[in-house]
């Protein structure tokens, strides 16, 4: 299963470190990363991750990412890739 991790929040050091650490602990493999600083220093990052060898449940990974996001004051979402593919690709 592949999923998209999306991160939105005020730009600050350590965002990628915290999120990728949470993914590493769950044995989720990062396939691709895109990041931009949007207007007013809002940081946006999207990661494509492979969850096929994941050691925890989808629910647990979501909680761990939430916890990592909360620690550094950013919004983190984990959503299956199909939702974006179905909406934006014919």
């Amino acid at each position: 299963m592949r999923a998209i991790v999306s991160v939105l929040g005020q730009d600050k050091p350590g965002i990628i470190a915290h999120i990728s650490h949470a993914l590493y602990e769950a044995n989720a493999n990062i396939l691709d990363i895109t990041q931009t600083v949007l207007r007013d220093e809002v940081f946006a990052m999207t990661m494509l991750v492979d969850l096929s060898a994941m050691k925890v449940s989808f629910e647990q990974l979501k909680e761990q990412l939430d916890a990592a996001g909360e620690k550094i004051g950013i919004e983190v979402r984990l959503m299956r890739e199909e939702i974006f593919k179905s909406m934006h690709r014919v």
Binding site: S6, L8, L31, A44, L48, M79, S86, M87
Partner: protein, 450 residues
């Protein structure tokens, strides 16, 4: 990887523009429950519903969690009870069995306490219709509907007359809850068999044993998309709505397929409806206002709604393999912040709403009237709507709530998705003798298409 802008756009639609799946509705056939003993039959109804729907809510929540898209309601629709209970005497037992099963399954509503009497009613159907007020007052989440007209059969004016009284009785028996009984009762012309939306959902006779139908929503997304098109011609407006409806519906199709696969049940249809909620920013009225109307209800509203309804269908139809249900724009007054505001200020009247129902997907929906509105006035409003449905070969529905003890200027609050409505005035000239005639209004000439 998918373009980051597309990912952020989707997240923005969900997080800030109220994009959601309004409902996953499981349709369940009850034909194999038939018996001439009400206890046996109602027992089988309970068993069948709980067997088929036991994983519905859990599956809905799992999809919500993994795909990150809210699924607001999980619902059940069943074969119209009047079709399986005609050999029995006590119909309310069936409503109680439905209610108990639905509560146990954790769903939000169950629909199908329904009858089809567009041409005439059998003796059992007359008794069934008589039982509706009690059934709605003794149950919590059971919804009822009665089809009184079709383009092919004409309008059964005896049924229209009786349904005016049934609505009054349903409201009076639930007076303590603002006449909530009437909010769970829909009177249809040209009812559809695969509608996932309440209160009018039922599992039609042409359906299989069990099916998953999905209703999408997202008026907020359409409104935001139009904000960037200020002052541009209608061609541009229509294109923007079509593109947005396409995206919304693709999401509905994905969720419907996924739910059907996980539940081991065939996928039925996606209903391409723009269904508002009372939340600010989730209003169909605001879309019409975004097109340039000062307030919903102003002259021009019907044209704006016609464009919206058409563009939603054109955009959505390519995004799903099977379109069905009501598909279009809903205009339930109490469930739409913009409609509520327009009705409060007097910009939106019952007459304008009636005109709007000629071009939208359904009809006069969630309209609160004074508690002392005569039954024949309710019947006459129904007859007007049924005529619009019959002549235009479209579904029309009437969900009127004569709120006991309330007058124009008062409010009724049903809470949740049903929202809050101002009591609206009606035309006080009497249709009594018109409604007293009974009989049938013949089907229109264009019904003869063979």
């Amino acid at each position: 990887m998918i373009d980051q802008r597309d990912i952020l756009k989707t997240i923005d639609m969900i997080a800030r523009q109220n994009l959601d799946i309004r409902t996953i509705t499981m349709g369940i056939s009850l034909f194999d429950c038939v018996s001439d003993d009400a206890d046996v039959c109602a027992g089988r109804v309970y068993d069948k519903i709980t067997a088929r729907a036991k994983n519905l809510v859990k599956t809905g929540e799992a999809i919500e969690n993994e795909f990150g898209i809210p699924i607001v309601n999980k619902r059940i629709s069943v074969t119209p009870i009047s079709l399986i209970s005609q050999g029995c005497e006590n119909y309310v037992k069936f409503a109680r069995a439905m209610d108990r099963a639905a509560h146990e399954m954790g769903v939000d509503f169950i629909g199908g306490y329904s009858a089809f009497v567009q041409k005439a009613a059998t003796a059992a159907e007359v008794r069934f219709i008589d039982s509706i007020p009690q059934a709605l007052s003794e149950t919590g989440i059971v919804c009822s509907s009665v089809n009184v007209a079709t383009t092919r059969a004409g309008i059964n004016m005896d049924a229209v007359k009786r349904m005016g009284e049934v609505i009054k009785e349903s409201a009076e028996l639930t007076a303590a809850e603002g006449g909530m009984g009437a909010a769970k009762l829909v009177v249809f012309a040209n009812a559809v068999e695969d509608n996932p939306f309440m209160a009018g959902a039922f599992h039609g006779t042409g359906e299989g044993d069990c099916v998953i139908n999905v209703g999408v929503s997202g008026p907020g997304v359409v409104k935001v998309a139009l904000e960037s098109k200020k002052g541009q011609p209608f061609d541009e407006v229509a294109e923007t709505i079509k593109t947005t409806a396409f995206h919304i519906t693709r999401m509905g199709q994905l969720v419907a397929r996924e739910a059907a696969k996980r539940l081991g049940v065939p996928f039925g249809i996606v209903d391409l409806s723009l269904a508002p909620t009372p939340a600010i920013g989730d209003s169909v009225a605001y879309i019409l206002e975004e097109m340039g109307l000062e307030t919903c209800g102003a002259h021009g509203t019907t044209a704006a709604l016609a464009l919206l309804n058409d563009a939603v269908k054109k955009g959505g139809i390519m995004a799903t393999s099977h379109v069905g249900g009501l598909s279009g724009a809903f205009i339930p007054v109490s469930e739409d912040a913009g409609m509520i505001h327009a009705a409060e200020t007097g910009a939106l009247t019952l007459e304008k709403l009636e005109a709007m129902t000629c071009v939208c997907s359904v009809g006069l929906d969630m309209i609160a009237l004074p508690g002392d509105t005569p039954a024949d006035v309710l019947s006459a409003i129904m007859a007007d709507e049924a005529a619009i449905g019959m002549v235009n070969t479209k579904t029309t529905a009437v969900r009127l709530i004569p709120v006991p003890g309330k007058q124009v200027g008062d409010y009724v609050d049903f809470g949740g998705l049903l929202g809050r409505a101002p009591i609206m005035p009606y035309n006080h000239n009497s249709p009594r003798e018109f409604i007293a005639r009974g009989g049938r209004i013949p089907a229109p000439l264009h019904a003869q298409r063979n």
